[in-house]
């Protein structure tokens, strides 16, 4: 009796609103929405990759222009690292966009959990794949800078920008160290504040599903 009454209450609940849908117009609006989503994704990809592309161009110029061997070597390493970052972003974005909402809820949650774990790992390991290699290549770059006069090298812009004295080198290395430490901290905070609560929610729902009681 109560069972049927509840089902009736439930079914009558949608009668509080009349829903009218103009399908032709809706499909057009969805097409526009889809185009906008794709544009946003493309913009995000360009934004993420452009910094690395700029880095590749800049360090390629340094390889060509700067005569110091160790600094040249660090530029090659930086270029390799920028290529790796582009690959990492592409791979991560591909993973994040592989959502399939037609899966059973349990499978969908497993999939979402995997994505979140990947995201968490990526943020927590930023020191190893982002800050660490970047700092090392920057460090080698600075250490490798020598006296331009020994190489008969003149480039006023580079001479003004590059830390050529001991004090300038030390200051730049300390500054970069602080910057990368802050970067690691920001990534760790994002992992703790944004990803971990979601992971916990997913695990809670998974546990609720698996429990018989």
């Amino acid at each position: 009796m109560l069972e049927q009454e509840l089902k009736n209450i439930w079914k009558n609940s949608s009668e509080t609103a009349q829903i009218s849908i103009e399908t032709d117009r809706l499909v057009k609006e969805f097409d526009t929405k889809m185009t906008n989503i794709q544009k946003k994704i493309r913009k995000r990809d360009v934004r993420e990759i452009s910094a690395s592309v700029f880095g590749i161009l800049l360090f390629s110029y340094f390889v060509y222009e700067i005569p110091f061997t160790i600094t040249k070597l660090s530029c090659f390493l930086s270029i390799l690292w920028f290529i790796y970052v582009i690959y990492k972003f592409k791979k991560s974005n591909q993973k994040n966009s592989s959502e399939n909402l037609t899966l059973p809820i349990k499978e969908q949650l497993d999939h979402k959990k995997q994505l979140m774990q990947h995201q968490l790992k990526l943020l927590n390991s930023a020191g190893y794949w982002y800050a660490g290699p970047s700092f090392i290549t920057n460090f080698i770059f600075i250490i490798g800078l020598e006296n331009p006069a020994d190489y008969n090298w003149t480039n006023s812009i580079a001479e003004n920008l590059l830390p050529l004295t001991f004090n300038a080198k030390l200051g730049t290395i300390i500054g970069l160290g602080v910057f990368y430490l802050i970067t690691i901290g920001v990534h760790k905070i994002a992992a703790k504040k944004d990803v971990q609560p979601i992971l916990k929610t997913i695990e809670d729902i998974q546990q609720q599903l698996n429990n018989s009681n």
Binding site: L2, W10, A17, Q18, I21, T23, D24, Q119, Q208, S212
Partner: protein, 167 residues
């Protein structure tokens, strides 16, 4: 109208009220039921070309609806929560034809469903829509037996909550 558009149109006609009922349960500030409803039908439209008919269309619609509703709680990109309302969907309140007592009863039912956890909520909405255990099992991804055991406990909890309110 193309064949796929016809299918979509038919699907909406048959399922819009069912989808809206579920969205009303899962919507929580700042997300309105209309926003969730819109997102569900967008995902249905997006996934429709890939529907292979391995499961019934009913089960398929439920999976998308519940996955979208649960996604609001597990979304990393909060910008997805900001929905632009589409002009093609109109919600007109029809309160004058609905008995105030019916509205109150639904309020009680909603309150009692809100006391359940996420997993139990998804099962109870399917139970109230009179889905079989087999269908529920296909939607959730658990065995029929598991659903039956869970259902017994959830029903008891719901009845204990709502009986004093309805009396």
């Amino acid at each position: 109208m193309s064949k796929s558009q016809n299918t979509f149109d038919q699907l909406l006609k048959e399922n819009k009220h069912k989808i809206y009922r579920i969205c009303r349960i899962y919507a929580a500030t700042p997300i309105e039921p209309q926003d969730l409803f819109q997102e569900v039908i967008f995902q249905i439209w997006k996934s429709l070309p890939n529907f292979k008919g391995n499961s019934s269309i009913n089960t398929w619609v439920y999976r998308i609806t519940l996955n979208v509703c649960l996604r609001t709680k597990t979304n990393l990109d909060k910008s997805n929560n900001k929905t632009t309302r589409l002009d093609a969907i109109h919600f007109t309140p029809v309160t004058e034809t609905v008995e105030p007592l019916e509205l109150e009863k639904f309020k009680y039912l909603k309150e009692c469903i809100a006391t359940l956890n996420e997993s139990d909520t998804s099962i109870i909405v399917m139970y109230l829509d009179e889905l079989s255990y087999k269908e529920m099992a296909e939607i959730i991804g658990l065995s029929e037996n598991h659903i039956a055991v869970k259902m017994k406990r959830i029903r008891k909890k719901l009845f204990e909550c709502i009986t004093p309110k309805l009396n």
